[in-house]
Subunit: 351 residues, 4 copies
Amino acid sequence: MKKLRVGILGATGTVGQGMIQLLERHPWFEVSTVAASDNSAGKNYAQATRWGLETPIPEPVARMTVQPCQPGLDCDFVLSGLPSSVAEETELQMAKAGLAVVTNAGSHRMKADVPLVIPEINPDHLDALDLQKKRIGSRGFIVTNPNCSAIGLVFPIAALDRKFKLEAVHVVTMQALSGAGYPGVASLDIIDNVLPAIDMGGEDRKIETESLKILGRWRDNQFVNAPIRMSAMTHRVNVRDGHLEAVSVKLGTKASREQVEAAIRDFTSPIDELALPSAPKPVMILESHVQRPQPRLDRDRGQGMAIVVGPVSACGVLDYKFRVLSHNTIRGAAGAAILNAELMYRKSLIG
Amino acid sequence: MKKLRVGILGATGTVGQGMIQLLERHPWFEVSTVAASDNSAGKNYAQATRWGLETPIPEPVARMTVQPCQPGLDCDFVLSGLPSSVAEETELQMAKAGLAVVTNAGSHRMKADVPLVIPEINPDHLDALDLQKKRIGSRGFIVTNPNCSAIGLVFPIAALDRKFKLEAVHVVTMQALSGAGYPGVASLDIIDNVLPAIDMGGEDRKIETESLKILGRWRDNQFVNAPIRMSAMTHRVNVRDGHLEAVSVKLGTKASREQVEAAIRDFTSPIDELALPSAPKPVMILESHVQRPQPRLDRDRGQGMAIVVGPVSACGVLDYKFRVLSHNTIRGAAGAAILNAELMYRKSLIG
Amino acid sequence: MKKLRVGILGATGTVGQGMIQLLERHPWFEVSTVAASDNSAGKNYAQATRWGLETPIPEPVARMTVQPCQPGLDCDFVLSGLPSSVAEETELQMAKAGLAVVTNAGSHRMKADVPLVIPEINPDHLDALDLQKKRIGSRGFIVTNPNCSAIGLVFPIAALDRKFKLEAVHVVTMQALSGAGYPGVASLDIIDNVLPAIDMGGEDRKIETESLKILGRWRDNQFVNAPIRMSAMTHRVNVRDGHLEAVSVKLGTKASREQVEAAIRDFTSPIDELALPSAPKPVMILESHVQRPQPRLDRDRGQGMAIVVGPVSACGVLDYKFRVLSHNTIRGAAGAAILNAELMYRKSLIG
Amino acid sequence: MKKLRVGILGATGTVGQGMIQLLERHPWFEVSTVAASDNSAGKNYAQATRWGLETPIPEPVARMTVQPCQPGLDCDFVLSGLPSSVAEETELQMAKAGLAVVTNAGSHRMKADVPLVIPEINPDHLDALDLQKKRIGSRGFIVTNPNCSAIGLVFPIAALDRKFKLEAVHVVTMQALSGAGYPGVASLDIIDNVLPAIDMGGEDRKIETESLKILGRWRDNQFVNAPIRMSAMTHRVNVRDGHLEAVSVKLGTKASREQVEAAIRDFTSPIDELALPSAPKPVMILESHVQRPQPRLDRDRGQGMAIVVGPVSACGVLDYKFRVLSHNTIRGAAGAAILNAELMYRKSLIG
């Protein structure tokens, strides 16, 4: 089989690096071109990049010349790890030029006709692309994945909403340093410390709004949010990778603790039969030990693509509470975009 | 003025060390004797102790001979930093022998006639001592202070309950290493990690039950819990000192965000006029920056005795949310016990 | 091929766990029995063990019943991860009972007829076993591997001694937390800190004495130390795995910086042709970037069995200086013992 | 007494902040004006500054308007915490305009007529100012203090050189994060890691060259370096404040371990009788415990101005070895400049 040729936007950044690493031995896709800011364009990729991963730069990519982020890239579709500041305009240009853009950037996530997709949760949101293409006036389009904190949360609450109709979700996060990119958090700020209100509280709002869009529906040519009350409080902690979240939920219908745990444990996904290469099996793991999940012990499960949920217990204020952990740079960024591309390939939206 | 002479139980442990340090220049109290386990008894205090504080051992104490924890200590009252495993029986013996025991240990906190006191919140709970003395059959008695996580939380919720009748309190903690004592948490467990469910969840329950007792009332010879729904989820993070807590509350009466902040900012305590030496002024500080409080920046405010609360914002699930920080080994342990002793001295319960 | 059956002594400890993990898919060896202290004996391995590795317990081992550390174990040879306090006597008993004991413990390392072996450096030291067997009066015997700090250091200095006759070696270590075992270093001791003089300076002496034995020769039925002046200063730093060492050397013959780097880069080992399964290729990697090696980036190279050396530069006091890094729990403990066993198997000393 | 009025250059940076904090209650000096880059000039100091210290901004300074770093500042002399990139030109302009400049910046340290001064070690180097003033053609001049790593090292080696004529000094550093300024080291680089070769090795050279200038002499209108062989290897470790250094020395004359310790313990300084407000007594503390000094436990001794040396032991390669610790932002930066200004005031060079 001939592999699809992928262009990486923002290839020298941390998300771009993650995409390149995860695609190193991908069965369907291969990196054909790397693009970055004008500072890097024209340089050899290995020289232009401050590679921060323990594994070496894949050989063919190391030798590529970095291209500017402009239409005309030599590829079948693009994966974007651009920073939000430049993503909005650049990605739109790419889409207008006819390319499928699968992006981790936040700029387009909440747009009225842009799918915000987690393949295991809301693959049908891709139906919005018909409308989007008309707006853009191109066969190109943009598909987004959620914020790295929203993505872990959405799995257990989707499972519970499906069974018990959620009324309210309260989440407090303890997020890893790598979520802030590189150089990101200054070591002097985090040593012997916790930093509250990530992005001055902007992160709280992303979790609240993105989760409701993902759990909502696309119908009559618009996204309808899930009717759930949400509250998020975010914190940065001294952990390299892995976002831990403490979640309390109120159910719309009565359920026992055992039923709630069963809903999480037995979660099945509409894409199970698609055999996407990056989809972990199982996608959600229910741990029984009260002191799990922990970032260091659980972040790499399912090659960093699994969601690990701790035991469920009664909440004295809402109904039930539990913890959820996901790897923020794999499941929460680079891997999320790649899994979206895999879904789109199976649905013949790219390739 | 002649100082009251204090015996320290568990003097070689971390809480005992903190008590000795805080009493070094105390205007009313002085350490007259130090007592610890049989392993240490008979040794010179400096030799028996693995002193872990940056300041040196106060000279007179360094030269004392450690006594066994038995009645007959040479002192006017005792402060106890004993571990819970031995505190229950030892403290009861001391009380039966006629001594006032002011303890940080958890063993007696929830007993039906034992005051669990924060001077600024519920000084009237000391009224329970009459009943307790009868039970014990002695003029000696036991007074306790709360768990180090409960103590920070109780301040803002007491302020809000007083004004708006709280219906529910949801708290997620990020607690410092020193809360686990020494040697406590293994470095291999906490590096690049967060540990959920402190004490296998026992810490969650302490916060829930102790807070309700403190906010409740002593009447008709019994403690009546405050009628508030409580939910706590605890975590250990890689911070030396300072417990940070993310709190959401539901009010019984309507209030604006400004009114809620005012209730915290304007909190006054029934002991303000007592001029207790360890009582900070103000006892509760409302910060306006969304990224405060932070453990390293705020734990030492008011000599570690102040409670620092962050800005209040609307909660999408309950009514309002905010963060609270307190120094767990000072306000949450050694300083809490000393402040209780100061209150008791003013009320002529000791001395 | 039928695999040799291995008994693990100290199977529930951190070194024992590492051995079990590394043997999970070993081509020559398989764990047939696990033994530990009387506390654990009789229990199921999974229940007796506080497993601290990110990967799960290998299935067959998880179900084994822990045996007491006594002769009569069902195995062809034993790997020992016993703590030094009990290793000396227990391992001698095993050897007397006819078993080959390959141990990471320090108790026997400096004995006059006990080989202290790194396969790539001094495989011929196994010749001492003839004498040892006579002393013990058994076909069983004991083979040891070095302290986790000595092992990384010995590689570059062996390469340089071979070419330029070393006169002096000065080393300052920055060692990882896992070197102290579990629970090991208290988090309160290491947060925002460095701890000098590991083991009260005992670690310094181990590095000095063990290195000289390894670099020395077995002749005329005794070990003759290498005639090199040694000085070691040790420190514990807040790193999970990977010992970093800053080394300065004085050469016996003149050499340029390039020649010194070449001696390290071109190091070849007498066991290269043996194709031992755990031997990395290359065993020693010379990095050219001045800010390498770093613990997190380089500890896992060669599956944790490679030694990574930084660029060589002139030393203003001795002749040259460089840094060396090795993974202390793999190359420096569990992997070291297994590699020794592989060498012994190839030399028909076991099996 | 009327206080001298001090202008702070680079007032919004970390060194400038430290100077402002240390001068808050200074008996001789008071901050009269704050200057910084054009970005900050014109703003209120509190608004222009990302204050990173646990104590609040001193009130009068908080309200000052930040000035541009140009001649004409309203002050009697200036303290400079400018970054090296701009210090060279700016400080020279200030001196030419007639101001005494006491700077922590590295730009002028190694100039042929610029004193590099530690008051307790080489106060006589100020004699070079006569020549410097002629060159500059002004009554203004520049005085520098050393790099934060050199400063701790110089104390014990000055004491030993004075008594035993040092031949060689070998030092390996483990330096704190704050030495890199703010934002400085990225948290992703240092978590679970050590970073070798600070400033790509530039820090090694600063230690070597600055130490020799300080220990050298000013005679015949030039600085003559001390004739000592030096070797430095630097590392960044995950510690907030406090540089730890492992030192080995070769003496020119024979001495016992006890004599070496006595030389350190009995060190007296030519400025002892000057009673400088920031000079600690004693300036150098010899610790007897083999596991001291430690950054967290010892950095604040003498209000962060004392040098703490560990016990001396025999070195197998050179003669003796020991460790030294100093607070890098106090004794190694802001406090060093202030102490220099105090010396200059006593010598009537300012005021």
